[in-house]
């Protein structure tokens, strides 16, 4: 029986594992964290319909069978070529045979501390979209650092994305819709709260996203086209300096809580593994498939495949489709090997 090693236990890796198992292949899935699930596993509700992230995870997990074995807290020491294919050597010395390898190492969230002017990690009431999802999931209510219900909440789009200063010129695709979803959720949780959204452009590219944006406007969320120049915390309040570029006026908006919509970053682990596997990295830091239109899952290195956000920002639906596509590519490869 052919064996596939999948590196990365986020939704892409898990979905591909389930499909490859069903196709009759032995699968070993390696996850560096203590548990699989990746970013989706840490998210509360998903856009655009606000279903629980856990529902998607349950759907994916149900496809797993005995052909899939999962190793968590797996560090990869090296990937060596062998007469049969590859040997993935873990940091504990264990070597795992692989007829094919699927790289599904995903992304990291942009470290908001690098946008120094926004004060994340310095000001108590500046949080990220990931922090807000954790608050939704674990605490169920939003409070400021001193335990008060915020009266005014603002969202900042494109934090670490479309930003040459941050070194990332690409759009992370999902932050706009995430921000709109979260703004609605905040408004629903606290109807009296004033909610602002500071944006460059609202990029609602997928089905039902635009409807979500219209819903947000109908709920009274104020969208201001302008990028924040700086943030300051004064006596617990967050002061945002921004220019409303539609009216050409500088503004100072004081809020109780500021949410930074952080984008995707290629993970350093992907870069390391790409070096081992001799596959190419693009100027944006994500892995390059051999063809961006017609061969998204192939690397040009025999037996090495790609799935999910390892090749750039993707939403969950696209990631799952990509993972299934990769599983089919691998199946085909193994049949002809």
């Amino acid at each position: 029986m052919r064996q596939v090693v999948i590196i990365g236990g986020g939704v892409a890796g898990l979905e591909a594992a389930g499909f490859l198992g069903k196709m009759g292949h032995q699968v070993v899935l390696l996850e560096k964290e203590k548990a699989v699930g990746g970013h989706v596993g840490k998210w509360d509700r998903l856009f655009p319909n606000r279903r629980q992230g856990s529902e998607v995870m349950d759907f994916i997990r149900k496809k797993m069978d005995e052909k899939v074995s999962i190793i968590t807290e797996a560090g990869i020491k090296s990937i060596d070529t062998s007469p049969d294919g590859y040997a993935v050597v873990l940091t504990n010395g264990e070597a795992i045979r692989a007829d094919a390898i699927l790289l599904a190492t995903g992304f990291e969230l942009f470290d908001a501390r690098k946008k120094e002017e926004y004060g994340y990690g310095i000001y108590d009431n500046v949080i990220t979209s990931a922090d807000l999802e954790r608050i939704f999931r674990e605490e169920g209510k939003i409070t400021t650092a001193d335990g008060q219900a915020p009266q005014k909440v603002a969202f900042v789009h494109c934090v670490g994305s479309r930003d040459e200063k941050a070194g990332n010129v690409y759009c992370s695709k999902v932050c706009c819709v995430t921000g709109v979803k979260q703004a609605i959720e905040v408004k629903e949780m606290m109807p009296a709260a004033k909610v602002y959204s500071f944006y460059m452009d609202i990029r609602m590219f997928d089905r039902h996203f635009e409807e979500l944006y219209i819903e947000a406007q109908q709920q009274g969320i104020t969208f201001i086209r302008g990028r924040l120049s700086e943030v300051y915390e004064d006596q617990g309040k967050v002061q945002c300096k921004v220019e409303d570029t539609l009216t050409g006026k500088p503004m100072k908006v004081t809020v109780d809580l500021l949410v930074l919509l952080v984008g995707f970053m290629p993970s350093p682990e992907t870069k390391r593994l790409a070096g081992m596997l001799k596959i190419n990295i693009g100027s944006d830091g994500f892995v390059l498939p051999i063809d961006g239109h017609i061969s998204q899952n192939e690397t040009g290195v025999p037996g090495i495949f790609l799935a999910g956000a390892v090749t750039g920002p993707k939403c969950i639906a696209t990631t799952l489709s990509d993972a299934r596509s990769a599983a089919l590519q691998i199946d085909q490869y193994l049949k002809t090997k």
């Binding site: 120094e116 004060g119 990690g121 310095i122 300051y232």
Partner: protein
């Protein structure tokens, strides 16, 4: 506010500062604005820290003000800078220290340009050779004089007589720090602490016993901003900028403002007087202003230098409230005596800003 968040950023912006043997270039305006500052720097370096600080009287303005007002073209400015470097090379020094933030920005801009465009550096060598017959070697280390005081801040306080604490209550004095724009906003890695949360003055204040005041308009321009003041029609913007800062810091009751730029202390000091005359508004305690100091002046006070030797009598906002809090003795009768002991006369008191202690 979480200090560890700032510390996380500060660790990325630590620059190398040479230990000794500095080639020193002055500011073209500081001696007029704050005449004791450059004197104090030289005294501290040579007498307190026993450092080799060399100055060549043939050095000139960096042309920065002319450059930033589009009077002096880049090539001219670059050649003048090349000449400064040539004087350093001829004197056998490698560590270039600039007294002025604008100049520091100019030197940084030139070195960065040359790093990225070697052909431009080649032109600088050619222009200088043609104009003066000189050649130069680029400095191994470029620092602002504030960087040097920062580097030796612990030695200074160890030798010092005073700390930035209220001598009666023992409470740390609350100090606003204001960084000149050209220190690190253009090249964050060339400034200690970067551009958003510069550490260079914070380090001095904290190590000398004071407490830094964070206030909303901390990053806002002091009011100089070149065109805001140099273009006469724009001067309303200049004073409006300073006023915005004073209004923002006032609720925190700062005991002093510390600066590292020639223009910032000038405008933060003089505009307090202008605002008081225009609006009757003062920002210090009991009709006083908020004293504004340069880092050399503050270092001199910590070391126990006479306030009048430091030139503090030429400040528009009197510094006596700060001296009283620290417990620094001074003789009011000597405030307006010249170096030769001659009475220079007493300036007319402003209408609202308390100027004379007895008034």
């Amino acid at each position: 506010m979480k200090k560890e968040g700032k510390e996380y950023i500060w660790k990325d912006y630590q620059k190398e500062i040479a230990e000794d043997k500095y080639f020193y270039v002055r500011s073209c305006v500081r001696q007029n604005f704050f005449p004791g500052s450059e004197w104090a720097f030289q005294k501290i370096l040579r007498e307190e820290l026993k450092k080799d600080l060399f100055e060549n009287a043939a050095h000139t303005s960096c042309t920065g003000i002319g450059y930033h007002t589009e009077i002096v073209p880049f090539e001219t400015m670059m050649t003048v800078v090349a000449r400064q470097f040539a004087l350093m090379t001829e004197a056998g020094y490698e560590h270039f220290v600039s007294s002025c933030i604008t100049s520091f920005g100019i030197y940084s801009e030139i070195l960065e340009t040359w790093e990225h465009f070697p052909e431009t550096e080649a032109r600088a060598h050619q222009y200088l050779k043609e104009a003066t017959g000189r050649d130069f070697i680029k400095p191994k280390n470029l620092a602002h004089t504030g960087d040097i005081i920062y580097k030796f801040r612990k030695e200074i306080v160890a030798k010092g007589k005073y700390r930035l604490v209220h001598h009666q209550t023992g409470e740390p004095l609350k100090i606003v720090e204001h960084i000149g724009c050209h220190y690190s906003k253009m090249f964050p890695h060339r400034g200690i602490g970067g551009a958003e949360y510069p550490y260079v003055l914070v380090g001095m204040i904290e190590d000398w016993g004071g407490k830094v005041v964070d206030y909303p308009e901390r990053r806002h321009c002091c009011g100089f901003g070149f065109r805001q003041y140099i273009v006469r029609a724009n001067r309303g913007y200049s004073i409006a900028c300073s006023r915005k800062k004073f209004e923002s810091m006032e609720p925190y009751h700062p005991d002093a403002i510390l600066t590292n730029c020639p223009g910032c202390p000038m405008f933060l000091d003089r505009w307090q007087y202008a605002i008081s005359e225009m609006e009757g508004k003062t920002y210090g305690e009991n009709g006083h202003g908020i004293p504004v100091l340069t880092y050399e002046e503050l270092a001199g006070l910590v070391l126990g230098y006479d306030p009048w030797d430091l030139g503090l009598q030429v400040h528009q906002v009197p510094v006596e409230p700060l001296l009283d809090k620290i417990g620094i003795p001074y003789d009011p009768s000597k405030k307006f005596l010249g170096k030769d002991g001659r009475d220079l006369g007493r300036p007319e008191a402003p209408h609202f800003l308390k100027f004379y202690k007895e008034s």
